[in-house]
């Protein structure tokens, strides 16, 4: 290329003006002009068309995910409520069963107690009758003992002395 053949002169020129093409101020206006146009166009297109669509895509997904999560937590709450209701009815049934058992037990206990009372009363009555009998027999026996002892004493005395004492004398002697 023509530009390459006179590189030496170009380099010498550049060395004189500081060397860097970047410091050639005559190109600055042109570069900045194009930068402003390109950057503005890029900013406009990105911010008007590209970025809102990306943002919507992301927020749509987030909405969907949070909706699904909400639904899942609702379902969980419902399940928990159902479990609670089940537990409550179970507890009710258990309490009712316990109640029935308790009342049954109480009535049976009362029955047993009254029977025992009745049996006790019966037994007391019979014991009293028996005691009365025993007392009667005892007094009878005691009075018999007196007469037998009197007779025995008369026998003994008549056998020993040959004289029979009178029954009245014996009784008088026996009474202290």
């Amino acid at each position: 290329m023509a530009a390459d053949t006179d590189t030496k002169y170009g380099a010498a020129e550049q060395a004189a003006s500081g060397g860097l093409p970047q410091l050639d101020l005559s190109t600055w206006f042109n570069q900045i002009f194009w930068l402003v146009i390109v950057f503005a166009a890029l900013y406009f297109i990105l911010s008007m068309f590209i970025l809102p669509r990306l943002r919507e895509g992301i927020s749509d997904r987030e909405d969907r995910i949070s909706d699904d999560l909400d639904q899942a937590s609702n379902m969980q709450r419902e399940a928990e409520e159902a479990e609670k209701a089940y537990n409550r009815s179970l507890a009710d049934a258990r309490a009712k069963a316990m109640n029935v058992a308790e009342t049954t037990k109480k009535s049976i206990d009362a029955e047993i107690a009254s029977e025992i009372e009745a049996a006790d009363a019966n037994m007391d009555r019979q014991a009293e009758i028996a005691e009365a009998n025993i007392r009667k027999i005892k007094t009878k026996a005691l009075s018999n003992i007196e007469s037998i002892a009197g007779e025995t004493a008369i026998e003994v005395v008549s056998t020993l002395t040959g004289k029979a004492p009178t029954a009245a004398a014996v009784r008088a002697a026996m009474t202290p």
Binding site: G10, G19, N30, Q31, W34, L35, V38, L54, G57
Partner: protein, 249 residues
Amino acid sequence: MASDPMEQFKIKDAAELFEIGGQTISWTNSSFWMVVSAILIIGFFALTTKRKLVPGKMQSLGELSYEFIANMVKDTTGVEAMKFMPFVFTLFFFILAANLIGMNPYAFTTTSHIAVTAALAVFTICVVIVAGIWKNGLKWFKIFAPSGLPAIMYVIIIPIEIISFISRPITLAVRLFANMVAGHVMLKLFAIFAAFLAAKGGIVALGVVVPVLATTAIVALEFLIAGLQAFVFAILTCVYLNDVYHVDH
């Protein structure tokens, strides 16, 4: 063969188009590659806006890019700065595309010119200043005078704050420009050295291995720097946008 390592930065006029205020506007290699980078960016993102519930590969890339910049803005500046997210997005991808295009042989690196990087940096700072005054009024100038200091300290602090603020666009511009230029010059130098050794012939030609390996390593490094510098420019823009929203720092 162009043996001047600065040859690659030369702006070549292809056609003179028209004049504005005495300045000739011409179609150059710089403007051509600038337009190419814009078309590539738009073309790439046009493929990513399918808006499917379950994203495909391209849509994932687009959404990843969106969330990358959105998180950068949110984390460094705050949710209120999301208005500037399209600006940071454009900035990042414009610089990234320019840097990556520059890695192709025969392509021109638009960001290797201080005119471009300085224009971007100055515009960024102007955005900060205008938005800051728009939002806070004259109170915005408090960023130069942090509250809660003894009065004498302000004599020292205010000039320091002003100097550090002014140096922002300068560092922003020079950092990107210098990184791009240095990398490309180094690549060119090693390549020229390799060509020089190969041309010598004989046993010396075997030494060509060293600059070729070095060139390969630098190419890898340059790809890293291409992404890194775009990232640095974007995140520093976010950091500077902090001054719009957090005047009391």
